[in-house]
Amino acid sequence: MKYSIFIIEDDITIRNELSTLLSAYKYQVSIIENFETAAEDVISQSPHLVLLDLNLPGADGFSICREIRKSSQVPIIIVTSRDSDMDELMSLHLGADQFISKPYNVQILLAKINALINRAYPAEASHIVRYEDISLDFSRCVVLNKEKEVELTKNEMRILQLLIEKQGHIVSRDEIMNALWQTDSFIDDNTLTVNINRLRGKLNGVGSGDLIKTRRGLGYSL
């Protein structure tokens, strides 16, 4: 199922691009343009998560946050260009779940959205991602193909997940490394090659050896 996210943000570039980005990651995105009724819209339409800016024309992010919290427990991430500790403290006191200051790291934003949604909706959260014949089970860190399964390391899991998320596109080596760095694994070029080779070997073991294709000079794709 698709999770719905409301974006309450006045900067047009940011909200449109966020919407494109989140749609690409299979979220259903709605943009709120009337900030005076923003809190009511959230309450009446009950999205799965809200991204809220603090500086809005004609409204204040803090009061919107407070209004929402009066009658809803929806996860709220404050996304703002204010970066003082005071703003962060205020946001958390008013019931926001996360505080990210612009310009944020997109991978971190995605990870926080993902983590909040998984925690808020555990029953619906899926620990399994499927692609063609194989499925990735995040709770056990294994990849399955029919009856056969093989255990993956954290890095291998993350690489495969990224390739599945971006299926149909070529993912560059730098992009894969960036994604791994975001999980505290500061690997270099050689280690990445080793990781990819091991991953291929393991996929070979479950009968999907040719799943990851090398695009010479560009990167990898499924």
Partner: protein, 332 residues
Amino acid sequence: MKIKEYLSGKILYLTICFTTSIFCGVFLWLVQADLSFTLFLPVLFLLGGILALIPEYLRKRKWYSKLLAYKEELDRLTLLPAIIDRPEFYEGAFLHDILTDVSKSMNDEIFKMREELRDYREFVELWVHEIKTPIAGAKLVLENNPDTPAQRELDRIEHYVEQALFYSRSASVENDYIMRETSLKTLVSESLKQRARYLIANKVKIETQNLEPKVLADIKWLSFILWQLMENAVKYGASTLSFTGIEGNENVLLLIEDDACGIPAKDIERIFDKGFTGENGRKIGAATGLGLYLCKTLCDKMGLGLSVKSEVGIGTTFTLVFPVSYIFVSES
């Protein structure tokens, strides 16, 4: 004011006193006055002239030595006229009034500059916050159209914007940082994550060792400092960056080691000076001489140490020193 100094200003007066006394003596001698008169009167005359100076000397000495003492004690000299009493003797009062006017105009000037500086600082902070929105927008555009080098250029723009913010903060007397307990690991990996693209694109290998020790620091400030050190290393050709934590009795050290070109011995003393670029900076041509100065200033404000060791052709090691605070001591 010594007597000699005082008297040296009174030479003309004394000469006249002396001369008139002599004249008086000569006159008395000419009119054939009694010998005791002829000798006694001029001496009395001279004595009177000299004695008259004593109260004036004492009064002046008192005031001048007070003035001198205040001058030594005050750290803001422009306040001097406001503190010292207006003296009763004419020259002193006259000078005091003029000094008061001078210092008032000086204080007005300083006040005006302070105001301007504060306004300017506020403007820079506001501007930095404003510009973060379009930067965030551009980053998202690029995220949706990946694989352009523009991403990491934007990261650099972001860094320079932050540099402006920290520069304006470092010049202010207010200390708007918050020291929190954190680990070296958090500090290092947060800044590595934020600058991942730049470091990956430059093929930098990362090594970390013993980053478990806990320290007190402002995470945002430290992230800026670490990034500044890393960016310098990359700019001067580092291919490996290693981060090592060392736990001592009185402090925790974080060593940031690179294998870049190294800093010549003649430059190393001055690399934390404002505006200093040195031989390496001139070769690369993209040095402002601000980065390390800012690092040092921010460290000083937080009470952290920052030192450097380097060998040309081998590399440079920066050492951050975190004093072990009494909080940890009392906990253990």
